[in-house]
Structure formats: structure tokens, C-alpha cells
């Protein structure tokens, strides 16, 4: 059971209380001062960091107080309630797909006019901007995140394998599978290609790469020249030969090569597997495809880990901007202050989460300027290979996660895509059959790509 699930149940119970309590916020600021509300989610760790950021903001802006509205769970439910009752906070996180809806409805402040006034806002990575129409900038992805291969150093050393740490030497898919074989062991120490290998008693899986989690496979899909939809964004291309190859390969890791766990096999107590840090520390799995945010947990739990780049098909790619959105809510009495707080809230100078490894910056200079790069990566929390395997890899080989780019994605995912991928994961039917069935259904729900433009 993940913490999220625990919280979910707690959330169920607390829903009524929370809805009742949220009406009591605000209005209590002393006369002459400005009170803002900042709503956010996250672990207790993130809570601490965000609250410290808000304190610093208050110190730098005398006369302004910020009330943190920490909402660890049922965020969309609570935010929907606040929207419906017109009691929105001033600034904060917004779930990605919801941000586009709220942006279109005019519930989020258009930041486009502010770009000139606050140059910092104009210096983000191009993919960080979230547009709900031409010149309608409704938000920014809170922090950057990308996907990579995490591995247990002792496990790969024992097998004589070295996952490459820069894009130029990325493994091909075949090399990747070959190495996964070397890293898979059953209880008696046999590998999948040795006779007597017992696939029911696997001690250490070679690789774990989620089939149902979009960010995990989107880099592979793009690397093989495929995508989720065509240029118009209205025709699903998951039934293309390139896409079928990628998904068949993922299914084959489990059922043909037997180097990866099937559904439920890693689950300790939930439908989701334990954290990557635990999987590597216990050597239940030797390599895991997971996001940059794992770094925090790796360090916290003192895992002997290494970071490598994803395997490639043609050009190496990794999904980036795997995150939620941040925005300023419309109707704020102090819109300008709220925009200033917004520019402040994910600035690496004031938020510890960058140095600690949970977030990657959105401002371009933190990937390009040496001093700026060092300011968040030159510390004990970031291993030596971080520069090539994460910073350069993300900047030069990143493709923005399709989930912030395709319209109506949340409904498509829950109604068609995720169920189809779950079926793929159970291995009952080949990828071609499943995807050829799902693609027309997705096409019928597609409404195009979200708008993008240069700032």
C-alpha cells in the first residue's frame, strides 16, 4: 500500500470535514496588510520545503502574509469544490489536465501580459509553458522532471554490466534486453536463458519499466519514431508499426524474456509497487525506469544507486515535464502579489527541493550556465553522473510528456488507454491486437494538441 492509498481512504473520511473547513479561510488578515493563500499538495517533506519558501517570501515582502493550504490528498476534488463555490486561493498547484480546463474557463490568470514585467517568467524552458489558447498562458509546469534508468550498483557490478550514463552511448533495445538477462536471477541463481530457470521463483528481476505509466514509455515511443497521435492531434497513432513494436517489446520483457515483473508481482501491499529506492536496496529489481524525483528517496534511504540513460531505438529520447501545473487563480484581490509569489514559488534560490533532488528547475539557465548548473547539482545529493545522465539528457533529449500536450487526455486515459495498457500488461493478447482495437476508440475522443507558442 502506498502512502497515496492510505491518504485516499483518509481523504474519503475527511472529505466532508475538509469541504466544511475550507470555507473558513481568508478574511482574517489584519487591516493594511495583504494576505495570500497558496494551495499545494505533496509529501510531508515537500510541505516543509514549500512552507519555508512561503516564509522567505513573507520576509522579502513585508506587509504580505501567505497562508499555506496544504492538501495532500483529494486535491482535484477539493479544488473542484472551491471552484464551484467561488472560493479559490490566490496561487498554487493545479493538477495538469484540470489546469487546461480551468484555463479555458477563465478561472486562472492569463500570465502572458506579465511576461514582460517579470523577465524571470520569460526565461523558462519552452515546454514548461501551458497555453489554453493563443497568447493565453494559464500556467507553468511546477518543476521539470524526466525519466531515466536507476540501478543497484552492486547488482550490476556482480553481473559485469555498466548502464551508460550519457545519451551518446545509450544502449539499443537489444543490448538493453541482453543486459537485463544478465541481471535476472531465480532463487537458485539461474538466469532466464539457462536451463532449469524457474520463472515462478525469481529473486532479482533485471528490469522494471511500467507499461501503464505514460511517462515511462513515451521516450521509447518517440525514440522509435512513433507518437500517440498524428500532427493534427485528432488521429491516434498507437496502432502504427513503430508503436506496436515498442509495446510488444515491453510485454516481451515480462512474458518472453521473463526479465521483468508482471502485474502484482512486485506489489508488496498495493496495486503499485514499492518505491524504486526499496526495490533497488533489496535488489528485488536491478534496474528500474523511473523519474528524476526518485533521487530524494534514494538519498534518504541511503541506496547504493547509479543513474543511467534510457535505452534508445533511433535517436535517444526521454519524457520531460512530467509534473503538475502551477497557476495564479482568477478573482484574487491581490493579483499582482499573487503573480510575484508565483514567480517566487519554484525559484531554485528559495526552494530547497532542487538541491535535495525532488525537483529540477524550469529556468533555462539552470541547464546552460555552468555556475547556475552547479548551484543545484554540486552537492552530495547529486551523484557525479547526474550532469550527463540527467541535466544534459533532459535538455538535449527531452520530449514533453504527451499528457500535458493532448487535449481531453484525462478522459482518454481513464476510459480507454489505461485499461488497454493493463490488458497488455496481463499478456493475454499481443500488442498489435490490443492497440488496433484501442486506437480508433482513442481517435474518437481526441480533440487535438494543446496550443503551444514561443514566448
Amino acid at each position: 500500500m502506498k502512502r497515496r492509498d492510505l491518504l485516499k481512504l483518509g481523504g474519503l473520511a475527511a472529505l466532508g470535514t475538509a469541504a466544511a473547513a475550507c470555507g473558513s479561510g481568508g478574511g482574517s488578515a489584519p487591516a493594511g496588510s495583504t494576505q495570500l493563500q497558496f494551495m499545494f499538495w505533496g509529501s510531508t517533506f515537500e510541505k516543509k520545503a514549500v512552507e519555508s519558501m512561503l516564509k522567505q517570501y513573507e520576509q522579502k515582502n513585508p506587509g504580505v502574509t501567505v497562508k499555506p493550504l496544504f492538501t495532500p490528498d483529494e486535491y482535484d476534488v477539493k479544488l473542484n469544490t472551491l471552484v464551484a463555490s467561488n472560493k479559490l486561493p490566490d496561487a498554487g498547484y493545479v493538477p495538469m489536465s484540470m489546469s487546461f480546463r480551468l484555463g479555458e474557463q477563465g478561472k486562472l490568470v492569463n500570465l502572458f501580459p506579465y511576461l514582460q514585467k517579470y523577465p524571470q517568467l520569460a526565461g523558462y524552458l519552452p515546454e514548461a509553458y501551458l497555453w489554453s489558447g493563443p497568447d493565453k498562458l494559464h500556467g507553468i509546469a511546477t518543476a521539470n522532471e524526466s525519466m531515466m534508468v536507476w540501478f543497484s550498483k552492486s547488482a550490476v557490478a556482480a553481473a559485469g554490466v555498466t548502464p551508460p550514463a550519457d545519451a551518446a552511448s545509450a544502449w539499443t533495445w537489444d543490448q538493453f534486453v541482453e543486459n537485463a538477462y544478465k541481471l535476472t536471477l531465480d532463487q537458485s541463481g539461474k538466469r532466464p536463458d539457462e536451463s532449469g530457470f524457474d520463472p515462478k521463483q525469481i529473486k532479482q528481476f533485471g528490469i522494471s519499466s511500467s507499461i501503464t505509466y505514460g511517462a515511462a514509455w513515451y521516450g521509447f515511443l518517440r525514440s522509435n519514431g512513433g507518437d500517440i497521435a498524428d500532427e493534427s492531434g485528432k488521429k491516434c497513432t498507437l496502432d502504427s508499426p513503430e508503436a506496436i513494436e515498442v509495446f510488444q517489446n515491453l510485454q516481451d520483457l515480462i512474458y518472453k524474456h521473463r526479465v521483468a515483473p508482471g502485474p502484482g508481482q512486485l506489489a508488496a501491499t498495493g496495486d503499485e509497487v514499492p518505491g524504486t529506492n526499496i526495490l533497488l536496496k533489496t535488489k528485488r529489481v536491478a534496474m528500474v525506469v523511473d523519474g528524476h524525483w526518485s533521487l530524494l528517496d534514494m538519498n534518504e534511504s541511503k541506496v547504493d544507486y547509479g543513474i543511467g540513460v534510457l535505452p534508445k531505438y533511433q535517436e535517444p529520447f526521454t519524457a520531460t515535464q512530467v509534473a503538475g501545473a502551477s497557476a495564479v487563480f482568477a478573482g484574487s484581490k491581490h493579483e499582482q502579489e499573487a503573480v510575484e509569489l508565483f514567480a517566487f514559488h519554484n525559484d531554485p534560490r528559495y526552494v530547497d527541493l532542487f538541491k535535495q533532488g525532488l525537483w529540477m528547475p524550469q529556468e533555462k539557465k539552470y541547464y546552460e550556465d555552468q555556475a547556475a548548473i552547479d548551484s543545484w547539482t554540486k552537492n552530495a545529493e547529486h551523484p557525479p553522473e547526474f550532469r550527463t545522465a540527467v541535466v544534459d539528457y533532459t535538455r538535449q533529449h527531452g520530449v514533453p510528456d504527451f499528457r500535458n500536450r493532448v487535449k481531453n487526455m484525462s478522459a482518454i486515459a481513464s476510459d480507454v488507454l489505461t485499461p488497454a495498457l493493463q490488458e497488455l500488461e496481463t499478456g493475454k493478447r499481443p500488442a498489435a491486437e490490443i492497440l488496433k482495437e484501442a486506437a480508433p476508440k482513442i481517435t474518437s475522443m481526441l480533440q487535438g494538441w494543446h496550443h503551444t507558442q514561443d514566448v
Binding site: K8, L9, D76, M98, L102, K200, G264, Q265, E423, E425
Partner: protein, 293 residues
């Protein structure tokens, strides 16, 4: 004096009355209204007549969720009734340590939902879960349980029998109300345990069985927690229960109008099913005191 009492009575009941009006009747009226509108949270509702209800006919997932829920109800309700009735019969015997046994069988009902779910996720684990370990030891093929489409709902049905305590207690109360002289009459006529059960216990228990049946059906049609916490409706919509689908429409997709229509449709389905059960009950439910009413 009487009027004073009435006034105080109403006043004291006011919290409950107000709560019912504000938190139950109010939202029901509102959702009935919204079910005739196209309303996304954040936008203003626009009246669309019966469009939401008409849209359901062509909504594949609506039908899927309805069949999945019906499947669960048809599996879970009879199973829970049989298991809890059987256990209640056992606990109605005069055995040593009766109080202890009754406590043990009732205990799972007291386990909080969250702990219950954690426990069962472990029991269902395909690699090292309790069920598969037992099957392997017995030389039987293991199952994927909640992780495969074909076994997900049956797994949850098995899980539902775990919390039979409340149903069992009601059966137990019913069993203790069966008049002893009827059993004696069977014994005098030379009838054994089977005849006692078939000719006395079962007919006398039909009102209790009927009550548990209705409550069970109404409850299982609203099954939600397992889909929400354990499976998220998966794999491949295998556990897409009606209320979970409704919840998803309302809160992740913000389609409040359609979700309200879904809610009212479920309300009507449950009403019709309950009505049919009551009509049918005349044929098999026996009320000893029926004539005296």
C-alpha cells in the same frame, strides 16, 4: 403539556431533521436538477433536457459498469447470505466457549476498511500472498486474483464474505426467535436435524433472510471502496463498479451533469429491483403473525 412536549420533541430532533434536509434532501434535489443540465465545474449549467439520460444508452462504460456491478451483486449477496446463515446456525448451538466463538466470527467486521484492504491485497498477492501459497502447497495452479481480468471480480466477491459479521448477528437474533415448541413437534414426529432445518428453521427464518437480502442488494449495488483503493477499476475495466465510474465522471472529469444523471439512474435501478424483490417476497417469505396484523 402535550403541546409543550411536542415542541421540545421537535426542537431536540432538529439537528437530525436539519441535517437530513440540508445534507440529504438538498443535494438530492440539486442533483435531480443538475441531471437535466450539462454542467462542468467552473462553467454554468445549461439545460439539456433528457440528453444525459439518453447519452447513457450509447455509453459503453455505463453498460460495462452496470454489468460489472450486477455480477458482483449476484455473486456476493448469495455467498454472504449462505456463509453468514451457516455460521449463525453453528453459533446458535450450545458449544463450549460460545461467547469467544461469536466474538471471533464478528471480529473481521470491526477491522477498519483500510486495514481490511491492506490485508486482502497481501492475501491476493500472486507471488507471496496467502491464497497462492496455500494453492501451491496443495499442488494446485495459482491465480492472478485481482490482477487478472477474469478473476478480479470473483476475488472481490470472496473478499466480501469476510465481513459477514453484521448479517450473521441478524441471523443469530432471528434463529433465537424461532419457537422451541416447533422443534419439539418435529422431534416427536420422529424428524431429525435435516427435517428440523427444512421444515422449521428455514421457513421461520424467511423474513430475516429477506431483510438481509434486500439490505445486501442495496449495499452491493453501491460497492466502491475496493475499486477505488485496490484496483482503480482495473485491470481493463474489470472492476469498474457503477459508483466508482460515477465518482470518476464527477470528480476527475468534472462532468457533474452526467454524473448526477448516473446517480439518479442507479437510484431508480435499486428502487425497481427492491420493488421486484418485495413483490416476489409474497411467494416465499412466511410471517407467522401475518394474519394478526
Amino acid at each position: 403539556m402535550r403541546r409543550l412536549e411536542t415542541r421540545w420533541g421537535i426542537l431536540m430532533a432538529m439537528p437530525a431533521i436539519l441535517g437530513f434536509l440540508i445534507f440529504t434532501i438538498g443535494p438530492m434535489v440539486a442533483s435531480a436538477f443538475f441531471s437535466f443540465t450539462d454542467w462542468t465545474i467552473g462553467a454554468s449549467p445549461s439545460f439539456v433536457g433528457l440528453d444525459n439520460y439518453a447519452a447513457m444508452a450509447g455509453d459503453e462504460l455505463f453498460w460495462k459498469s452496470l454489468t460489472t456491478t450486477t455480477y458482483y451483486t449476484l455473486g456476493s449477496v448469495p455467498l454472504v447470505l449462505i456463509v453468514s446463515f451457516a455460521v449463525a446456525m453453528l453459533l446458535n448451538e450450545k458449544v463450549r466457549g460460545l461467547a469467544v466463538w461469536r466474538t471471533i466470527f464478528y471480529l473481521p467486521t470491526l477491522v477498519p476498511a483500510i486495514a481490511n484492504v491492506v490485508l486482502w491485497i497481501w492475501i491476493f498477492n500472486p507471488d507471496f500472498g496467502l491464497l497462492n501459497s496455500l494453492l501451491r502447497q496443495g499442488g494446485l495452479p495459482a491465480s492472478q486474483w485481482i490482477y487478472a481480468e477474469s478473476t478480479a471480480v470473483p476475488s472481490l466477491i470472496i473478499m466480501s464474505t469476510w465481513g459477514f459479521g453484521n448479517t450473521m448477528v441478524i441471523f443469530l437474533a432471528g434463529l433465537q426467535g424461532v419457537p422451541r415448541h416447533l422443534y419439539e413437534a418435529v422431534s416427536i414426529d420422529g424428524g431429525g436435524p435435516w427435517r428440523r432445518f427444512w421444515h422449521v428453521t428455514l421457513p421461520m427464518m424467511t423474513p430475516t433472510i429477506f431483510y438481509n437480502l434486500v439490505v445486501g442488494v442495496v449495499g452491493t449495488f453501491q460497492v466502491f471502496n475496493q475499486a477505488y483503493v485496490m484496483t482503480e477499476g482495473g485491470p481493463n475495466h474489470a472492476t469498474l463498479f457503477y459508483v466508482y465510474y460515477l465518482f470518476r465522471k464527477a470528480f476527475t472529469e468534472s462532468e457533474m451533469g452526467y454524473a448526477s444523471a448516473l446517480a439518479w439512474t442507479l437510484f431508480m435501478i435499486i428502487m425497481v429491483v427492491t420493488f421486484l424483490m418485495f413483490r416476489n417476497a409474497r411467494r416465499w417469505v412466511y410471517y407467522e403473525m401475518a394474519g394478526a396484523r
